[in-house]
Amino acid sequence: AAVGSERPQVVSHVQQALSYTVFDCKWVPRSARLLCLGSAARGTGIVQLYELHGARLELLREIEKPKPIKCGTFGATSLQQRYLATGDFDGNLNIWNLEAPELPVYSVKGHKEIINSIDGVGGLGIGEGAPEIVTGSRDGTVKVWDPRQNDTPVANMEPVQGESKRDCWTVAFGNAYNQEERVVCAGYDNGDIKLFDLKTMSLRWETNIKNGVCSVEFDRKDINMNKLVATSLEGKFHVFDMRTQHPTKGFASVSEKAQKSTIWQVRHLPQNRDVFMTSGGSGSLHLWKYEYPAQRCKKDSEGSEMGVAGSVSLLQNVTLSTQPISSLDWSPDKKGLCVCGAFDQTVRVLIVTKLNKI
């Protein structure tokens, strides 16, 4: 139908079978190269660098490390250096120069248990302020590191003495619009979402969405915080409007149930902050668009400002695999180009078309 042909299409461009479990895949900024991070069957960590050549991926380099690698980011590195920060199964945070990967540029045993999620800010020419890396771990702590300071984190969000810990499953930076402001959002396995303000070193907001939080992301790290998407188990995700914080009710949100399975990742399109893609446990990808309400904030009965959440509409969905798609990354350089890694040991490069028309 005419309407159908105007919708964005998800075209599978390249599929590459891997011989290891891939946990994270990332585009190398300013290039047509991508990285796959994972764990080999023999229990070691693998980093593979591929380059897109026509309709296939060419392996440029393979690096093996003693511990399996769970996550990685380029967020805190400069465009010239493009160092990769990784978190591994042992709780080590390492920063690697891919040209000379034998020894890490920075290394610290940051956590007692696996680092589940990592994010970086202040690099790649995006935003201002010091480059920082945040890691969230199964030991229940969230730590912020500065690559210029060895051994100790610059911020540590840990459970109160005597409190039983909950696994931190995901972390994200946001609100980094000037040199001082920065927030870290962390999602835990009991459904807690906590927002930490690094400027005031305090807990700014917390909420509980009942199901374990698999992934959180701000629509942009380097602006005044606008929207936050949190995905969880059982197919639900919540979009919070972060512009207006009510003293008791917190942030307004809209939630959507996409499918019966866990939503593993959410990633916003770098070129359009109202479009995001969620990847699911049933091997499917959903492309969503957020529409703002007519009025983003209103006054409640006592006169304090309250946010108004908008609505989310599904643009396209496609099922690529039978196994969960655990990682997703949009290319910051080419609109619509993205890579996803699934637990069927395959990495796929996809192109989403017609994003200009949204």
Binding site: H13, R30, A32, A155, E163, K210, N211, G212, D333, K334
Partner: protein, 421 residues
């Protein structure tokens, strides 16, 4: 006895017979006419006309026209010959019968054949339709595939273009970087000359050496520039967090929501039950038939110390609705006060039975039930049973100091009796 129609008129040609049958006012429909090769019957109750034809006719092509109070038959002969008469004369009764039966049989067979033929044609039509739809769908699918293929190719081309752009861009950038470095060194040179009191000539000398230095140090150089603009690392600090407590360590899907729903449902049901037996209760006032009102009354009497009165109230309430656990619970308390220990145990047990499934909602009630039963057991000197109940209560509510103290006391008592015996 049917009325025979005999006033028929007929004439014939070599190939056909034309028969005209007047109907005495009766209305005829095609269903009333029955015709086979040699037998013709028109039956419009109570009228009847039948004829055993002289010779066989072709009954498929023969026609009958109904109209003007008349049926006009056009019967085509099988063999062109002139008939002596319309019907066979001297037809014996058995022959008639025989012929009739034959006729019916033949008609049946023909009908069967016709249905068979119809079925076959229907199937063929269906097949054709199916094939046609399949073709149409196939075309549609191909069209979509083609579209997708085109998209894919277009996109692949764009990607290649972009990639090549990247490569060129990289080359261009590295050239640009060198140029930029040159330019950066200029203002730095001037700044240094302002800061330090060296002569310009010596500065130029130093800067020249910098220019000649290797690329690596140049990049460090430019980075130093940048670092001056970056803020220093944050002062280390810790934020303490609390987590939302969960009864069960896992996510919502393993919570007891289902059981909580069941409990609420059960309570709603219980409130709606009204036991029959209203014959005895007719002299009661309207409010006295309400179990809730009676429960409140019982509570008030308990508070005032009128335990017997409270028991009566609860008894009546139970007669009206025996599914409310709180009635049994409160009655157990009364019995405890009245030292009817066995009754207290019974009532607490009944209350506990009704307080399933165990959910946070009915925690308080369950704790009370266990405590009351435990007390009753202890007063009967059945200390082990009593301790069991106290421990159950503690399990539900571990923070209650009174229960803990009492449990301790009982344990001591048990140990005391064990030691002495």
């Amino acid at each position: 006895m049917p009325v025979w129609l005999r006033e028929h008129r007929w004439r014939q040609t070599l190939t056909a017979v034309y028969l005209s049958l007047p109907l005495r006012g009766a209305r005829a429909t095609p269903a009333n006419i029955f015709c086979s090769e040699q037998y013709l019957k028109v039956s419009i109750p109570p009228f009847l006309f039948e004829a055993i034809l002289y010779a066989p006719i072709d009954d498929t092509n023969s026609t009958a026209k109904i109209g003007n109070g008349n049926i006009f038959f056009t019967l085509y002969k099988k063999e062109p010959a002139m008939w002596d008469s319309l019907t066979l004369a001297n037809a014996a009764k058995e022959k008639l019968q025989h012929l009739r039966e034959n006729a019916v049989l033949k008609a049946h067979e023909k009908a069967k054949e016709e249905t068979e033929a119809k079925k076959i044609t229907k199937q063929e039509h269906k097949k054709y339709a199916l094939e046609a739809t399949m073709k149409v769908e196939e075309e549609e699918r191909k069209r979509i595939e083609d579209l997708k293929e085109k998209e894919r190719q277009k996109v692949a081309k764009e990607l290649e273009l972009w990639k090549n752009q990247q490569k060129d861009g990289d080359k261009y950038k590295s050239i640009q970087k060198k140029g930029k470095l040159h330019r950066e060194i200029e203002p730095l040179k001037e700044r240094k000359s302002e800061k330090m009191n060296k002569t310009r000539i010596s500065n130029e000398g130093t800067s020249k050496t910098r220019l000649k230095s290797t690329k690596g140090s140049c990049s460090i150089f430019s980075q130093n520039l940048k670092e001056e603009q970056l803020p220093a690392p944050r002062a280390a600090a810790t934020i303490k967090v609390n987590f939302t407590p969960r009864v069960f360590p896992t996510a919502l899907r393993e919570s007891r929501v289902a059981e909580e729903e069941e409990w609420l449902h059960k309570q709603a049901e219980a409130r709606r039950i009204i036991n029959s037996d209203l014959s005895e209760l007719e002299d009661l006032k309207e409010e006295e038939k309400n179990p809730d009102w009676l429960k409140d009354k019982g509570n008030k009497m308990f508070a005032m110390g009128d335990y017997l009165g409270a028991v009566n109230a609860y008894n009546l309430a139970v007669r009206l609705n025996n599914k409310l656990p709180l009635l049994y619970l409160n009655r157990a308390a009364c019995h405890l006060k009245l030292r009817n220990l066995h009754k207290a145990i019974e009532d607490s047990s009944k209350a506990l039975e009704l307080l399933t499934p165990p959910v946070p909602d009915n925690e308080n009630a369950r704790v009370k039930a266990h405590v009351r039963r435990g007390t009753a057991f202890c007063q009967l000197e059945l200390y082990t049973e009593g301790l069991q109940d106290y421990e159950a209560a503690l399990k539900i509510d571990p923070r209650n100091k009174n229960i803990e103290k009492d449990a301790e006391k009982i344990r001591h008592l048990i140990q005391g009796t064990m030691q002495s015996s």
